[in-house]
Amino acid sequence: MNQESSDNNPFVASTSRRSKIDATVQVGFCAITYFIVLCAVVVFADITIKGAPVVFPKIFGHGGPVVNTDLFTKDPETLVVFEDADADKIAMGFGEFTEYKAENPSAVVNNEHTYAFSAGGVRGPILGTIFLITICIVVALFIGIATAVYLSEYSSKGRAVDGIRLAILNLAGVPSIVFGLFGLMFFCFFVPVITQTPIDRPGFEVPPIPLPFGYFISFQGWGTCMLAGGFTLAAMILPVIITASEESLKAVPMGFREASLALGATKWQTIHKSVLPYAYPGILTASVLGITRVAGETAPIMFTAAVALRDELPWQGLDGSGLGAVFDFLGQSVQALPYHIYTVASKIPQTEYTEPMQYAAVFIFMLLVMALAGLSVWLRVRARAKLKW
């Protein structure tokens, strides 16, 4: 371009205030976004920096094992802090402390303090959370996928379907504590009463559902237990799973169904062989991500499943054997990580002695949740690699 014509350039940038404002506003938006990212990083970093060294002492140069296995093999215990003859502060779990005193009767114990839940490990809460999530996944996936299949494959437009959709939409907005109230009333109070045996409420009871080998399904004695908690969590996550599953089903091309039906397959054969297999990866991915959210919920399990402290693991000291023991196991109350964290955060003073265990519990909990989120990412990647149309 020669000099003359560039002088004539009718499209020179107008170096007005406007472009400066534009740039400033854009930087403002950018700053807002990165501020959010920064907040997220601060939260993650704080928990990791203070939690990870407790869980992985060796990696962070604190000596000791690579993984602090005590955390995963011991239950929460009271921590005793005292000073010995040389004024050195010593902290040990209550069990260890009892032994120490028995071995050294003459030992000097000055300035003794105790902190509940601050020693030992978090085995019970971890296991409880895993049980709750498992029950929740099984129940929610079963009902959720079935609902989605109905909505996307069977239903025609009508008031019933509108009602179902409306219910799902509204269910999604119900506060978690209200689900807690529902779970408590329904699974812990109502259901055990209406299935009471021996029957003392004639006219209004659900008979025990017979199973082979002389067993019965009865809701009797549910009370505060992991089944009630799992079902409550499942009720809460249901809308997410239904929506996700329906979207995945809708994403399966119509042609797959038409081709199958044209070959003379029945509706169910079509769904079973030509729709669900292609929708499963999407369903699982979205559902696992949704379950990440309920895994962290505390309010619904506060009244329905969780207890602060349990001496035994849920499978210890069960009544009956075989299937009976399984039901008894499912009827146990459990410790759960989120409830454990709530208890320590609200009721135990935060000091240099209690913080490591608290942060360790939080860090492990975050790892668990992140593992679920990671699982959903992995499922998505695998599904994308496998299925393409």
């Binding site: 371009m1 014509s5 560039s6 002088d7 004539n8 350039n9 009718p10 499209f11 020179v12 107008s14």
Partner: protein
């Protein structure tokens, strides 16, 4: 030099005065307003969808681009106001396009200023979900116009210019989405001319309209060429003969032939053109 002066007074000048400044410059502008010089275009940097296009578009004429689907006529049109910049990786890979003797890809060219001079009407009418008035006023407002009276005046002028004023003058504050398809498209034309561009690009403006609405838009195009340079992409050869002064025929990314419309349709010099206009393919 006149242009530069006009730009300096931009800050407090209305678009109307800007365009009159442009108009004074017009006397000195050549007949050729868009100069396409050996242009290749590619969407991904590998395959060229347009090859070796050279074409001049003349001032205050209607130029029609015709050709079968996928021949690159819309792509070329979107090069003129650099709408293709929005597609990542796409760009002119060879040659140059000059408008008013200025290379539009030169770093000195501000794409926003370019688009103020080169208006565009899209295949599917796309009025903003605002009132009719606000649709028209939008272009003025983004150009910095604050004076309500000036805006009122330009809105009316543009609507009259687009032969829409009589139909909508009583419901300027109603949503533009309530208009019929043809009205919406004419509204989009009015919106484009409200900022007084030199050139108006039309990308198959009538493809979604019924015959009556099409006739109205075509009539409008015939009026508009008094003031504007119009480039129109069309599938409809009758439309090209009805509205355009010159026609360019594209086929498979190449410019096959360009000539006076009457000549191209009555006496094409290339066999591909003849095959196409006689309906043997496409």
């Amino acid at each position: 030099m006149t242009m530069t002066k006009a730009k300096h007074s931009m800050e407090n000048a209305t678009p109307a005065t800007t365009s009159s400044a442009v108009a004074t410059a017009e006397t000195s502008t050549p007949r050729t307003i868009i100069q396409i010089d050996d242009v290749n275009f590619s969407y991904d940097g590998k395959v060229d969808v347009l090859r070796d296009i050279s074409l001049d578009i003349f001032n205050r004429q209607v130029t029609a681009f015709i050709g079968p689907s996928g021949c690159g006529k819309s792509t070329l049109l979107r090069c003129f106001n650099r709408m293709n910049d929005l597609i990542p990786g796409a760009g002119v890979s060879k040659g140059r396009i000059s408008i008013l003797d200025t290379d539009i890809h030169s770093p000195k060219v501000d794409v926003i200023e370019l688009r103020k001079h080169v208006g565009m009407v899209f295949q599917k009418s796309n009025p903003f979900p605002k009132s009719i008035y606000e649709n028209l006023a939008y272009g003025l407002r983004i150009a910095g116009e604050r004076n309500r009276e000036v805006i009122d005046q330009v809105v009316e002028e543009s609507l009259r210019g687009a032969a829409l004023w009589e139909e909508v003058k009583d419901r300027l504050n109603k949503s533009a989405l309530g208009l019929s398809g043809g009205q919406q498209q004419r509204l989009c034309i009015a919106r484009a001319i409200a900022v007084k561009p030199r050139i108006l690009l039309m990308d198959e403006p009538c493809s979604a309209l019924d015959p009556i609405a099409t006739a109205k838009v075509e009539e409008l195009i015939n009026q508009l060429k008094e003031e504007y340079t119009i480039v129109i992409v069309t599938h409809n050869m009758q439309q090209a003969t009805r509205v355009s002064d010159r026609t360019a025929f594209f086929y498979l990314g190449e410019l096959i032939e360009v000539d006076e419309t009457t000549k191209l349709f009555s006496n094409p010099s290339r066999t591909e053109t003849e095959d196409y206009i006689s309906g043997r393919f496409g």
